[in-house]
Assembly symmetry: C2
Homo-oligomer: 254 residues x 2
Amino acid sequence: MLSIVLIGTGNVAQQLHAAMSNNKGVKIIQVIGRDKKKLALFNNSLKTATDFESISDADIYIIAVNDDSITTVSQYFKNISGLVVHTSGSMPLAVLPKSVRRGVFYPLQTISKDRKIDFSKVPICIEAEKSEDYELLRELANAISDQVQIMTSDQRKSVHLAAVFVNNFTNHLYHIGNQICNEAGVPFTILKQLILETAKKAAESPVLNAQTGPAVRNDKLTIKEHLALLNNKDYRDIYSVLSNSIQKTHEKKL
Amino acid sequence: MLSIVLIGTGNVAQQLHAAMSNNKGVKIIQVIGRDKKKLALFNNSLKTATDFESISDADIYIIAVNDDSITTVSQYFKNISGLVVHTSGSMPLAVLPKSVRRGVFYPLQTISKDRKIDFSKVPICIEAEKSEDYELLRELANAISDQVQIMTSDQRKSVHLAAVFVNNFTNHLYHIGNQICNEAGVPFTILKQLILETAKKAAESPVLNAQTGPAVRNDKLTIKEHLALLNNKDYRDIYSVLSNSIQKTHEKKL
């Protein structure tokens, strides 16, 4: 069984803790964090610490803190013999101290407090420097997820960027759709099936062929009318740059 | 049982035909279209016509043609006694001739040939001028869908615009995500769960709170690195206008 020390008390730490609890292959033996209130959210039977002087011995140390804090926090692990990993999509492996066995354990998912996540479906992107550390991370990842992917720091950075497009930006488009419906006095629920169907389509079939709408048809009248309907300049800009890019993308295809 | 004449042989016509076949409450008695090959795609036992001189008598005439052709096609129905409807999201009811009982029957869904659609989940937006025609359209819509929504032409136009954001534009963001993965040599499949989870989240909970990512955190370093990673100028523009709009949206909330 792999013994784990979890560093951090935020969303990622909480979700990892939930996924690793009652797991046959993994045991979290300690949670370290500076926020006492948040530490109390974790299992009472767990050893917790608010300082980095009392780190337990473990196979793997998972630093699940904000990107900006990884460097600072990881200094406390300079002389540790276990494998030290962070959970960031955008930070390279090299932000961790050279003196340790280091790696990355990045769960590729939108993580928020309120929503329970089925971690078995969350892809885990792993990186390490030694083959035995890869094996260790693979064992850890397989214990909580069905999809494990080895990737370099550069690849992970690209995947994180791609995730910003398909997750954060998509989410903002949903927000705009919601706003437009509210202003028109139409329930947003009317768009729910369309949202789900569009996502399923992209997940199942090649994305490029699935493109529909006024931009790809170059339906100038509808585009003009849509721009006139939008009274938020930012939304008009979004409409224009996306329509423009859709048209160029599909021109290239021809 | 409602008798229907379907005008058009494209995706919308084909999907409506599929949804109305073997339906207890509705019977398509004729399909009219100019494309003989496409007409052959419809049920053989159905009366089909390539000209508008031999229109059968029916309760409802559904004009499922391109937006640009609605006006032209609807001229052939000027003297008809049944209810004449079009299926467009962006066209007002008023594009149909004043001389007839007119209405709109707009299925709010991304319709493409290859994908079979469960029409019971597709919201149908209906509009008419007389209460008895509303009843007729409601009966037709209820026969194939669980979600029927009455709306004005203006509301429908707004919903169509909202659909462009949550469907067409979202789809383009998926395409960009796909491109970024391809260039990095990472399988796009790694983003599938994220795509599905983001869509489910929006469909279930208020969209505004679900926003995550570097823009809403105002994580300037990551934003800068992401822009540097994108070698397509259009994609950089999309990244910038969306990040900018996300930041303004969430500033307002504070």
